[in-house]
């Protein structure tokens, strides 16, 4: 399979500026050199990429073209007039998208951006995501083979009140295919924006999404990034988000993962200026044989920054969750204030979680804490509910939802929070507990 990507690279010679071609060549060379990681690589210890490496994925075929705007309904949040860029099987779908020129916010496909915003792309694209680390070889593959994707730039001082939705869909034609979407988010100094990045499958297709998202958050800017992994049940998903934060900037990330047979989600941010903050929250809900691995990395490179992290997992069936939260505090990053929590609710005897905090602190005046809990449904609460007439099954669902609700409540945009609460409930109760 490793050679398949190299052959594909040689065959397709993607278009683009010379600087990008040079980076693509370095990326494919790096992949040839290091190959796929094995579980001997510490960052892949609990997740073997072998099922992806051994599968014979072909470049994803174009959509069958039958999707209509009406089909998007269940995947949308809030108001239907939110700007959205829709991609089907890795290709931009203008007829499903709605991009209006809102003051100060540019949202376009990567292909268009390469033509219309060459200097923006040269400055940011491929500059945030690491292709050298052997653990990040999927980023190298994406870099070599990326063809389409989304670019969002929020202008200096602009407060983009409306969330921007980037929706990556796969339809039946995606079977046995792979795509490498690339996303670039740029929040210019003093700006504020919310971007939803959603990956969803149509049904039971087996395919591989290998996506990379890069973000640059300028001085005093705030970027909310809500990431939804709702791939088809047989799909594979590797997603890397690499963020660079300037002084006094804020990155607020939420990762919601319920889909795919095997998924690996990397969220990395670097606090490269004083006074910034990163909030990384997430919720994963797995069942059957699903495997989902979150690797977060927060680099505190400068003083006076904070980071907050709450990840929750609900694991049923024989599913396997992995959470690894790294926090690096550089020697100069004094007064760092970090807090990390990972809580898991196991609903079955066969479900498994591997959770590992990893704090590497080289400054002496810092406050960093971490904690992990693994538990089952609280029997006392269960009895309390049953003693009020609520049947066992309903009580269990409600307590499971309640476990998730605590982290869902952190989502600041009402329509998004309500939307994710609804998705969670569909899985556990069927009715909203707030009504």
């Amino acid at each position: 399979m490793g050679t398949a990507y190299a052959q594909q690279f040689a065959a397709q010679r993607p278009e683009g500026p010379a600087w990008l071609t040079a980076i693509r060549e370095r990326a494919i060379a790096r992949f040839r050199e290091v190959g796929y990681p094995t579980t001997r690589n510490e960052e892949w210890h609990f997740t073997s990429p072998a099922p992806i490496a051994e599968a014979d994925f072909v470049p994803m075929r174009a959509a069958t073209g039958t999707l209509s705007v009406e089909d998007l309904g269940p995947l949308l949040f809030g108001e239907p007039d939110w700007p959205r860029l829709v991609f089907v099987n890795g290709r931009f779908a203008p007829s499903l998208s709605r991009v209006d020129a809102r003051d100060g916010v540019k949202a376009m496909s990567l292909a268009v951006a390469l033509r219309e915003e060459p200097s923006l792309l040269e400055y940011h694209l491929t500059r945030r995501a690491d292709i050298v680390d052997p653990a990040q070889v999927f980023t190298a593959i994406n870099t070599a083979l990326m063809q389409d994707g989304a670019v969002v730039q929020v202008g200096r001082g602009i407060d983009a009140a409306t969330p921007i939705h980037l929706l990556f869909l796969s339809d039946a034609a995606a079977e046995d295919g792979v795509c490498h979407p690339r996303i670039l988010l740029v929040a210019e100094p003093g700006s504020r924006a919310t971007v939803i990045e959603q990956h969803a499958g149509a049904g039971g297709e087996r395919y591989f999404t290998n996506v990379v998202t890069e973000a640059w958050i300028g001085e005093g800017a705030t970027l909310h990034h809500l990431r939804l992994q709702r791939e088809s049940a047989r799909a594979f998903h590797v997603g890397t988000t690499a963020v660079h934060q300037e002084q006094d900037s804020h990155f607020v990330s939420f990762s919601f993962a319920t889909g795919a047979a095997l998924s690996r989600i990397n969220i990395h941010t670097g606090l490269h200026g004083r006074g910034g903050g990163a909030t990384l929250n997430g919720l994963y809900m797995l069942d059957g044989e699903q495997h989902c691995d979150h690797q977060t990395r927060i680099v505190h490179a400068q003083p006076d920054c904070y980071s907050r992290e709450v990840y929750k997992g609900i694991l049923d069936g024989a599913s396997h969750g992995v959470f690894n939260g790294k926090v690096y505090v550089h020697p100069e990053a004094q007064k760092t204030d970090g807090k990390q929590t990972n809580n898991t609710l196991l609903l079955s005897e066969r479900a498994r979680i591997d959770t590992k905090p990893q704090l590497e602190i080289f400054a002496d005046d810092v406050k960093c804490t971490h904690g992990a809990t693994v538990g089952r449904i609280d029997e006392t609460a269960l009895f309390y509910m049953k003693s009020r007439g609520i049947p066992d099954r309903e009580a269990r669902k409600l307590l499971t939802y309640a476990f998730a609700a605590e982290v869902l409540e952190t989502i600041p945009v009402d329509a998004l929070r309500d939307g994710l609460e609804r998705l969670t409930l569909e899985r556990f109760t069927g009715t909203p507990p707030r009504a």
Partner: protein
Amino acid sequence: MIHISELHASVGEKEILKGISLEIAAGEIHAIMGPNGSGKSTLAQVLAGHPGYEVTAGTVTYNGQDLLAMDPEERAQAGVFLAFQYPVEIPGVSNAYFLRSAYNEIRKARGEAEADPLEFLDIVSERLKLVDLDEAMLNRSVNAGFSGGEKKRNEILQLAVLDPRFAILDETDSGLDIDALRIVADGVNRLRRKDNAFLVVTHYQRLLNYIVPDRVHVLVDGRIARSGGKELALELEERGYDWVTAEPVAGV
């Protein structure tokens, strides 16, 4: 209404209830008093169906049904209610949703129509006044961050909304100041009817000044050591529990 006969119950190897017999008729309030560790709370929990206790002998008949054969939720749907000594906090589930789910499950079991959120709000608003709780509490998580007094008043609110036939109050008075105690007692007194019954478990006589029982039973070491009218509670207040233990009496 409820007939308890020679009830024995254990936790693990330890027998806690050692043969309790008790009969409560509709319209009556009975009080169970006794020293710490005498089995008062165990009796309350066993009647509600707590899975941590094993009934080793005896029967409990509730309106002609075998109560011990029923799941906790079936007991509740049939009109049994336990006001917990330590109400449970459930972060993430609002009081409104919790209470409406319970209310509708009980309505369903009775073959009545379920209430929608607006209808339910009318029902619950009325009852909130009874226990002096603010409507804002409905949007808060069940008991989460509630003071001790608020938790106990929330138990009585649930009692008032769910309208059980047989309610057990497990040390509802513990930890309450005199004002909260009055609110709780007033609530119970107003809910008292000809067709329902209460079993009030308490360590202190104080609550019985406000909720006047028809019968008082003193539990000592898993058995009813003495039963009498409301004056028995006063006598206990005066003479302490040692007096009962020292002077065992046959019969109930």
